[in-house]
């Protein structure tokens, strides 16, 4: 296809370690739309040892779903034929590549290090311990231990940052680096590590003579670039190295590279791109999290964005890492039943050795949801730690992982409890990427940005509902009124510590949501007792969960007594799962105006 031709039909493959998806998007009635999706288990491990086998199976599944052919016996049909078979382009996102292990050795130059750390954190890599040393101070035991750890973990990429004019600092780092990766590649069969030195130009010769023989070596002069440029260059290097390593180590990746119209994009990176787009599009703070193929957590507001990617941490192949990443008592506190720490450890380990399984029972899903909450809390804390204040978000998006829980209140609760958003307005909208379209929209955006925007607008997010976070003392209550578009009115009353779920259908935006002033309750950044009114564009819109008024204590309070804890968590679950018909309020039809100050009658329903 030449550049003049229009791509009417695009298939995007999302190749993970456990699952491969093939999604068809097409230009329909003036816009790019999601047509169908096929999935298959991935096949990068024995007995298949070929990413292409899983991709082909996913395409077969897509063929069955769309009743069209996309591949013949030997190749993917490109471009689309007159019969409708085939596609005009194939794109790919990849999470199947083993994450790069990146280590940082640094001396001086906090500015560069501070710019680099967020880059490493948001890249699809496993960040190894960062070692900071003084140029002249003696090497202490802790430094030696970290060097030994890094040597044992064998980094794929070593970043050496010597942002000081004192050349002794660079010399010291080069010495430590050679202890970690050796002075020459150790085995011919192994892929040598890459070494990127960021230092003053005067250190170039020393660095080059140490690492130019046999290593992938690069040098960035600190006197030529500012920290931001250096960080962006490092990010590009990481992504390109990731692709090169994938080509070298992932069976079938080179064939995929030949077929795609643009270089395969790391899945976490694609999600981050879409999250940033949403923040600009909706002009609000957005958090997107996913646990499919590693843990990805992105925050963006305006032009600012932060991301966290932990490819070796999830509820599948990375499950054992949960044992060290999370305090298990904090996981157990979210369960509406008693569970010993030993039992939870066994549950996690059994999941790790059977990484493809899908939870089927309520108990299984509740354990999975509890783990998810704590994982989200960890991610949110790390992201918030980079910037001022707590993590604020007006839109929370759960990735495809959250779509596998059948009850929509489960992902809704997990996202609220785990991310604990403190929206400035008081309202957070909750949505799901139910069809796993965010990675493909990110990939599509690199080739066809306008099509990606259309696809996002029409098919991406599935609204679950909205949540108003109310800061209300335990002995007080907040009262309010929800007015629907058809004029119906519903009064409500929520006590501090409680949750109330009100019906608000998908696709419907409330006409007005009003919180009465008085006492000390606080909505968003509003003053104590000031009340709040949301209408027009600011009013919440609904979904299967509806509108939740969440007046639970923050940080979430869990009684020490086990029975009381179970009762409290159980009451939260019940409140989220029960659409209020009567609690503290009623519903009035248009024209049934009640005199001001009249107490709300109890609805017998």
């Amino acid at each position: 296809m030449n550049a003049e031709q229009v791509r009417e039909s695009i298939v995007v493959a999302d190749c993970g370690r456990t699952l491969t998806r093939a999604t068809l998007v097409e230009f329909v009635e003036g816009a790019c739309r999601f047509i169908a999706q096929g999935t298959s288990a991935s096949t990068i491990e024995p007995p298949y040892d070929d990413l292409g086998v899983g991709l082909r199976a996913a395409l077969e599944s897509l063929e069955a779903a769309s009743r069209r052919r996309f591949a013949d016996r030997t190749r993917i049909i490109i471009p689309q034929e007159d019969s409708g078979d085939g596609t005009d382009a194939l794109l790919a996102t990849v999470a199947a590549t083993p994450p790069l292990r990146v280590g940082i050795l640094a001396t001086g130059g906090d500015g560069i290090l501070n710019a680099l750390l967020p880059i490493v954190r948001r890249s699809p890599v496993t960040a190894l311990p960062t070692l900071s040393v003084e140029p002249t101070a003696p090497i202490d035991a802790a430094t030696s231990a970290t060097v030994a750890t890094l040597a044992r973990l064998q980094p794929d990429l070593l970043l050496i940052v010597a942002a000081t004019d004192d050349q002794r600092g660079l010399q010291r780092l080069l010495g430590l680096a050679t202890e970690i990766v050796g002075t020459s590649p150790q085995r011919e069969t192994e892929t040598p590590p890459a070494v990127l030195v960021i230092a003053s130009e005067v250190g170039r010769d020393a660095a080059t003579s140490t690492f130019s023989d046999g290593y992938e070596f690069g040098f960035l002069a600190t006197n030529e670039y500012d920290p931001t440029d250096i960080a962006l260059t490092v990010e590009t290097e990481i992504l390109e190295l990731n692709t090169r390593r994938a080509a070298a180590t992932l069976p079938g990746f080179d064939s995929l590279e030949w077929m795609v119209a643009a270089p395969p994009l790391a899945r976490a990176r694609a999600i981050d791109l879409v999250n940033r787009y949403m923040a600009l599009q909706f002009d609000c703070a957005v958090v997107t999290v996913d646990l499919d193929e590693g843990f990805t957590c992105c925050w963006a507001h305006g032009g600012e964005g932060r991301a966290l990617s932990e490819p070796a941490l999830d509820l599948a192949l990375g499950a054992t890492n949960l044992l060290t990443a999370l305090p298990l008592p904090d996981v157990i506190r979210w369960l509406p039943f008693s569970l010993s720490e030993d039992t939870l450890r066994g549950w996690i380990l059994n999941r790790a050795v059977r990484p493809f399984t899908v939870p089927m029972t309520t108990r299984d899903r509740q354990i999975e949801a509890a783990l998810t909450r704590e994982l989200l809390r960890t991610g949110a804390t790390q992201l918030a730690g980079d910037g001022p204040g707590a993590l604020t978000a007006e839109l929370l998006v759960g990735g495809s992982f959250f779509a596998r829980w059948p009850d929509p209140t489960e992902p809704f609760m997990a996202l609220i409890d785990g991310l604990d958003p403190r929206p400035a307005s008081g309202i957070a909208q909750i949505a799901l990427d139910r069809d796993a379209l965010m990675p493909l929209i990110g990939a599509l955006g690199t080739l066809e940005p306008d099509r990606a925007a259309e696809l996002f607008e029409h098919d991406s997010l599935f609204d679950l509902g909205a949540c108003v976070v109310v800061d209300c003392p335990a002995n007080e209550q907040v009262q309010g009124e929800l007015v629907y578009q058809d004029g119906r009115r519903r009064n409500f009353e929520v006590r501090g510590g409680e949750v109330l779920r009100l019906p608000l259908r998908g696709g419907e935006r409330a006409a007005t949501l009003h919180f009465a002033p008085g006492k000390r309750a606080r909505i968003g950044n509003g003053g104590a007792g000031a009340g709040a009114t949301f209408e027009g564009e600011l009013a919440p819109h609904g979904g299967p969960v509806g509108l939740v008024i969440d007046a639970r204590e923050r940080p979430f309070a869990f009684p020490r007594n086990e029975q009381e804890r179970i009762a409290r968590v159980g009451s939260w679950l019940t409140a989220f799962q029960t659409v209020s018909r009567a609690t503290g309020g009623d519903e009035q039809r248009p024209g049934e105006d009640r005199a001001e100050g009249t107490p709300a009658p109890t609805d017998p329903a």
Partner: protein, 379 residues
Amino acid sequence: MLHQNPTRQPTLVRENDLRIERRLPVAGEVHVKVGERVEASTLVATGEQTPPATLINVARALDIEPSAAEGRLTKERGQAVHAGEVIARRRRGLRSLTVRSPFDGTFVRFDAHLGTALLRPHATLTELVAHVGGVIEEVEQGRGVTIRTLGSRFYGAFGVGDEAFGVLKIVGGDRQRPLGPELIDNRAARAILAVGGTVSAAALRKAAQVGVRGIIAGSIEESELIGWLGAKEATLWRVGLPDWRIPTADAPLTLVLTEGFGATAMAQPLYDTLTAADGMQGAISGVTRLSGGLLRPEVVVLSRSAGRAGEDLTVPLAALEPGTTVRLLDHDHLGVLATVAEAPRRRRLEGDLLLSALTVTLANGKRMDLPTANVEVLV
């Protein structure tokens, strides 16, 4: 497609013609010929493996500038070094600072720029034994052999330790019975013990003490495993994705768990297979790798019979067809066996969940719809 096991065969292959591949990790020499009969202990191939060189920072150890360190060396390029032998020395006051070689090997070179010495350990000889008795069917020169034998083979869920072989001994006499130390005595030396229930740390310690080569059990509590390995909880399970594998070097014997963690008893067909082979030669491997080259722990037990004439002994490929016995894998159904009633197809389960699913019939006659990912073909 089925993805739990590293082959396309069912988890359990009973009384069949097995082909056991034995491969050296490095190129070497094969010592047997096609058609030759081998025992489990027969040496079939050898190879020399050169461990990676080690860098020692001499300047730092002697607390001197790199440029000054060369003058303190006691070894030269190309010289042999022995474990513990001094390679550099410096006098500081009344004390003498020394740097010693951590192994037998060769002094490769000294880098005066960095003050580091590169030492290479001697090559180590890798000996590959047959692991199972049988007949050499194929030789791949320089790499290894394929052995043909009649027996049963199944994969476990998790294992610890490398390869082991010995006479299989069933202990406990009951599929549910846990293995405690009281069931192990000196008569179990050099044997592979099999038990249907759980295994405790005390039993594993006793087994190692009397010289048991391996244990096959239903499951284990994680605390018992940690206690036995003497490992630190914080580090044992920290695995990287490129090579999902826990450290096994320190395991005193090989352990294969058919069900995993907790207190689930061994699946009946697996237990029946082991009891039928009680007293026969068995071979096990505890290596578990979930990523970067899928490997499951494996058990092979030799058959009592030589096979019947005319019997089809082709190892079947796993297929989720009606009538196939499957094992349920999600946590709340671990240990449950079922029969496929309806083959997998894409369908909607509870909550509008669209995925590949199948229908199974449980032992009590109840039918259940399950994601295909939640079952494995057992037999």
